[in-house]
């Protein structure tokens, strides 16, 4: 078992609005092989994303998208886009914590 940093096995890590009330994160892996390793072992889960962003894992949706070797995670926005106290109207700078994510993986 080895600890991999997500930053080393993914080629795209981004966040964006999915409408004004949800934030969606895309992790596109460097290869199909890595993607299959991560998805077959379920290494990126609602619990991990929930822990990272301090949201209830039941509110996190995870979709594995094979054509792009990508995992998509979606969470409700704590404050809707553009509301008075909101900080990121486009939701494009909420991915930072994912760059620090480490996942244990064989090989």
């Amino acid at each position: 078992m080895k600890i991999y940093r997500l930053i080393d096995i993914a080629k795209v890590i981004r966040s964006k609005n999915s409408g004004p009330y949800e934030l969606t994160f895309d992790i596109i892996f460097k290869s199909q092989e890595i993607f299959e390793k991560v998805t077959s072992k379920k290494l990126v889960t609602s619990e991990i994303i929930g822990e990272l962003y301090k949201v209830d894992p039941r509110d996190v949706s995870i979709v594995e998208f094979f054509p792009a070797s990508a995992i998509k995670a979606t969470i409700p926005r704590p404050i809707p886009s553009g509301d008075v106290a909101e900080t990121d109207v486009y939701g494009a700078q909420q991915h930072g914590p994912l760059l620090k994510l480490e996942i244990p993986m064989e090989g």
Binding site: P78, G82, T87
Partner: protein
């Protein structure tokens, strides 16, 4: 094999495109040009205030080229979500630009306008009849949301655009529209597969964003055939790859396999992407699944007040560790001095270098930055009141005597004079819901007009 070529010049009308890419596209003899003009991404202000988030001059530059191209090659030009949000003022703003270009360039054409603002009484009736439901993560609608909304738009599907085409319009200016529908309406009328037409539209609406290197301001073309379509960038410096096109399907959506829209959803579970040559991608297997009931998405924004901000920075190592408590005390001082402000006003300190970007989602809570950018952010019932609170909070913070202070001349570095900025009206989204309708046409009556001549 028959083929329909659809040219998408840019991701958003006004974002621009290289003339050389557009010329290459026009040389491929497209059957139509479609451009999306809108997005909810820039936030609720533009919908509520009725203004565009793109600049008039930039929109006019793009539209001049598109109109001249479409008219000279006698092909339709369809513009979706006019003016960025597709409400009545947005539509009029864009129409005015089109009239101006037609006059300057001596162009004549038949045109259709498709308004997309939805009458509040109609929304209220639908709400009372249980025809409105929230999208995921959105609170249940209330009657207050409806009455407080400054403007409500509905997202049209292909049907009103088809009416406009049937009526002989060469240029179609649509209000709020489902982006892929603007691209798919004409091909679907020509008998092409709905699933493929919608999926091609879904990719083309962002033009060259689906290419490598990606760009929101460069042209792409789609070749729609009976059992597949091909996506190709029109700038020789860009390529579409299986990864870039399939990854684009993820963009701004919560589930990339099932993409709901007016009248049904696009099902991409069986979609296959294949590389063609160096820079094109073939897509097949996408399906459209009509829904039992036709629903359209409603978007509404309401005015919540007026904003004034003040930008400054702190670089004092004694002050920074105490910032949170200092700002709490400043809050108390402001509230104490203006007790009449009550609940209706809002005062917030946005701390860049601390949690200004992520706010409540920021996991790093225990770091002490060496420098912090502060935006004093005030929203109140009138601009005058917002100015008053902002000015008072700024002067209070500037001279606040915190524990252990050595720098007694002032606590803030202001980059600008004047230090305070009026931001004007502030809006929130208050409606983002689905409404059941009897068909895709009724809410979007098409108006025909002749331009020029």
């Amino acid at each position: 094999m028959r083929e329909m070529r659809v040219l998408s010049p840019t991701a958003i009308l006004g974002y621009g495109f290289p003339l050389s890419s557009f010329k290459s596209g026009m040389e491929l003899d497209p059957h139509l040009i479609v451009v999306d003009a809108g997005s909810t991404d820039p936030g609720p202000y533009y919908l509520g205030a009725g203004v565009s988030f793109t600049h008039r001059n930039a929109v006019k530059r793009d539209l001049t080229l598109l109109l001249e191209g479409a008219i000279s090659q006698r092909i339709p030009l369809i513009i979706g979500t006019a003016g960025g949000c597709g409400g009545a003022p947005h539509l009029q703003w864009n129409l005015e630009i089109i009239r101006e270009i037609a006059t300057e360039k001596g162009l004549n054409f038949n045109m259709a306008l498709i308004p997309a603002e939805i009458d509040k009484n109609l929304v209220r009736d639908a709400f009372r009849q249980g025809q409105i439901s929230p999208l995921k993560g959105v609170p249940e609608l209330t009657e207050d949301d409806i009455s407080q909304a400054t403007r409500i738009v509905g997202q049209m599907g292909i049907e009103p655009i088809m009416v406009a085409i049937e009526g002989g319009a060469q240029v179609i200016l649509a209000g709020r529209a489902y982006d892929p529908a603007v691209f798919a309406a004409f091909p679907i009328m020509g008998g092409y597969d709905r699933g493929l037409a919608f999926h091609m539209g879904k990719i083309l609406e962002c033009a060259s964003i689906a290419a490598i290197p990606g760009s929101g301001s460069d042209c792409a073309i789609g070749y729609l055939r009976d059992d597949h379509f091909i996506i190709e960038p029109l700038n020789p410096n860009r390529r579409c790859t299986v990864t870039s096109v399939s990854a684009h399907t993820l963009y701004e959506k919560s589930n990339p396999y099932i993409l709901p829209g007016p009248g049904g959803h696009l099902d991409l579970r069986e979609t296959r992407f294949t590389q063609i040559g160096k820079g094109s991608v073939k897509v097949e297997g996408s399906r459209f699944r009509p829904s039992e009931e036709y629903t359209i998405k409603l978007e509404g924004a309401k005015k919540v007040g007026y904003r004034t901000i003040s930008v400054s920075g702190v670089r004092d190592p004694i002050m920074i560790p105490q910032l949170d408590s200092i700002l709490n005390e400043v809050q108390d001082r402001v509230r104490d001095n203006f007790s009449e402000l009550g609940e209706g006003s809002y005062l917030n300190f946005r701390l860049y270098g601390k949690n200004g970007v992520m706010g409540p989602l920021e996991p790093e809570k225990d770091i002490t930055p060496y420098e912090v950018g502060i935006i004093i952010d005030v929203v109140a019932g009138t601009q005058d009141m917002a100015n008053t609170i902002c000015s008072f909070a700024r002067s209070t913070l500037l001279h606040f005597g915190y524990a252990g202070r050595l720098a007694t001349a002032g606590n803030l570095a202001f980059p600008f004079s004047p230090s305070d900025i009026n931001m004007g009206e502030v809006y929130n989204f208050c409606i983002y819901h689905l409404m059941k309708v009897k068909d895709g046409k009724t809410l979007f009556p098409v108006e025909f007009l002749e331009i020029g001549g």
